[in-house]
Symmetry: C2
Subunit: 360 residues, 2 copies
């Protein structure tokens, strides 16, 4: 949820359409098919537009490597293995994760249109990036959407001393009349790992209770961090670990895929073996429960009350997504900041595939 940098020294500010075009060109150059190009770009651009830079175009280089070395299938044949009532199982054939997740949510929405709700377990997926992008796809179709995915171990259990769950994101989107969707996208860890890396670079102390050393002892020293703590801190980390576990059960157990501690590390060194990750999408059609106008009135009433609820001094109450939609509007006008490391990677990519850099 954190923008790590602005364009800054050595970075750049890039127009949305140029950045989108560069991602497409690079993905096509590595041999990805049209569906992969479109979905991988849409997933990254969702995050880069909304200011979630950890899950934005900085991942382009990562996905290109997976596609070229074989971890990801450049021309996957996604197909439904099962469909039963309001549920389905999608085999993503080792597709790039955004293609798997968008496709899974599209099936969930289709099922919800017919049955009021739809639930889809996704098999043979991979790192799917920003969970909110796929929940949002449901909201764009008028549905409440939930998207979750487990990931390689990075978060200790409550009272644990080893990496166990991944950061296991949990995202929900809800359509809102006359406005952008309510959009909630969180890691079930206390902080994203990028926060640790940022503080390490700045030599700044972390907040208490968000990360631990290799013995599972909480530390505020970013250089000593060996694992993240679950959401809830020292006293209530069982809550974050429980939500992370719910994500794990939906994504890995119901999909019959790898548990977090069984998933090969995102960062390699092996980029040639598919990671066999699961994911899970759920869509609910509000119209199945009450007339659309009543649902819309409820969301209007809820958000009006929320946004006018008193703030404490120096703070501002916001609905989930408000901060991100505001950032998206700023970036639409001003462009998207690219950090120096990502810009370096873009230069390498442009050289390797004979592409123009997306610079003004």
């Amino acid at each position: 949820m954190t923008a790590l940098t602005n364009g800054g020294p050595g970075g750049a500010i890039v127009r949305i359409e140029d950045l989108d075009g560069f991602c497409r060109a690079a993905l096509a150059a590595v041999g990805a098919d049209a569906a992969t190009v479109a979905a991988a770009t849409a997933g990254m651009m969702h995050a880069s537009r909304l200011g979630v830079d950890s899950h934005g175009v900085r991942l382009l280089d990562h996905y290109l490597r997976g596609l070229s070395e074989g971890r990801l299938n450049r021309r996957p044949h996604l197909r439904l293995l099962r469909e039963h009532g309001a549920t389905a199982v999608l085999d993503a054939d080792h597709a790039q994760g955004a293609l798997a997740a968008y496709t899974g949510m599209e099936h969930a929405v289709r099922l919800a249109r017919a049955h009021g709700t739809g639930a889809v377990a996704i098999r043979n997926s991979s790192h799917f990036g920003p969970a909110g992008a796929y929940a949002l796809r449901a909201a764009e179709e008028g549905m409440v959407g939930l998207a979750v995915c487990n990931s390689d171990s990075f978060v200790r259990l409550h009272d644990g001393a080893a990496r166990f769950h991944g950061t296991n994101p949990f995202a929900v989107a809800v359509p809102v009349p006359e406005g952008e969707p309510w959009l909630f996208d969180m890691a079930t860890s206390s902080v994203p790992y990028n926060r640790v890396l940022l503080y390490r670079g700045l030599d700044r102390l972390l907040p208490a209770g968000v990360a631990s050393d290799e013995d599972g002892v909480d530390t505020t020293d970013p250089h000593a961090v060996a694992m993240l703590a679950p959401l809830g801190g020292a006293d209530f980390g069982f809550k974050g670990a429980g939500i992370g576990g719910f994500v794990e059960i939906l994504s890995a157990v119901l999909a019959g895929m790898r548990l977090s501690h069984e998933i090969a590390p995102m960062g390699g060194p092996d980029f040639s073996t598919p990671r066999e990750m699961g994911a899970f999408c759920l869509a609910l059609d509000p119209g199945a429960f009450l007339p659309r106008a009543e649902f819309e009135d409820g969301m209007r009433r809820y958000l009006a009350a929320l946004r006018t609820s008193p703030s404490r001094a120096g703070g501002r109450v916001m609905a989930p997504g408000d901060r991100e939609w505001e950032e998206a509007e700023r970036r639409r006008q001003n462009g998207i900041p690219i950090d120096p490391a990502t810009l370096d990677a873009f230069r390498r990519i442009a050289d390797e595939y004979g592409l123009s850099l997306p610079l003004p």
Copy 2:
């Protein structure tokens, strides 16, 4: 999730079957019908058996008052207002909340048996007590169950300075082969309000970041607490507030019922007007996604890895529910501790309705 007291001075230890019988007799004496007697007792006894005393038999007096003064319907006619595909809307006719929630989950399980998943919005319910009890009902039928409910305002928003959401519990249960279900039941506040009351009585400081004074400023002084903070503390309270909001949207908006800040206070003074609360239940049939044996193997593998994951010094890793199932076993053998205030209420109830106290 907190046992407030042991039997202690002025309290008592009561056998499970005697406590169950006393609840049934008292509910029947106030004129509740058989379904209400059974469900209200089952809800309270779930919590009292598992050590969640805040939601256990200490609520008997509260429910009796609601049933006798008209807030709760002693002889409700619960009926489905809509059924569409895998979804339904249950009108609980102002039933006691446990009857509404058990009935809602039973419909969700029925729908999931036919369609792989089932989602039920509940209208005209009331305080439903321990959310885990209703999620567990699904797990007992072999399903993954989710039960949520909003409640009267008690928790500020992230950066907020007023009570907004209720403690909005979120509960999930998952069947486990050869063992008790994985059972996760949390408030989306940082702490339960009972913790504040307990610390107030003990004149003990609260952990940082869990509660705020009337200006929304975090305080560790339990006497200054005017509202609870959302899960996540000072830095990440937007996560707890987001999950609380998801519960609010499912329970209140999809059910067309009151938002948390529109619900009359649980504690009265008005006990004669129905509170028009919503709730929401979801069931997923694992067998719709993969062969039952593979699902069971996944849960076995997950829990074996979790329970053998290294603990930090002085701690112990546990799966959600492990602590509660152990407490249930202790209480099965030793009886259930009743705190002095609840025992006083039991004495009044026994006097008023001519019942025997459930004492040895």
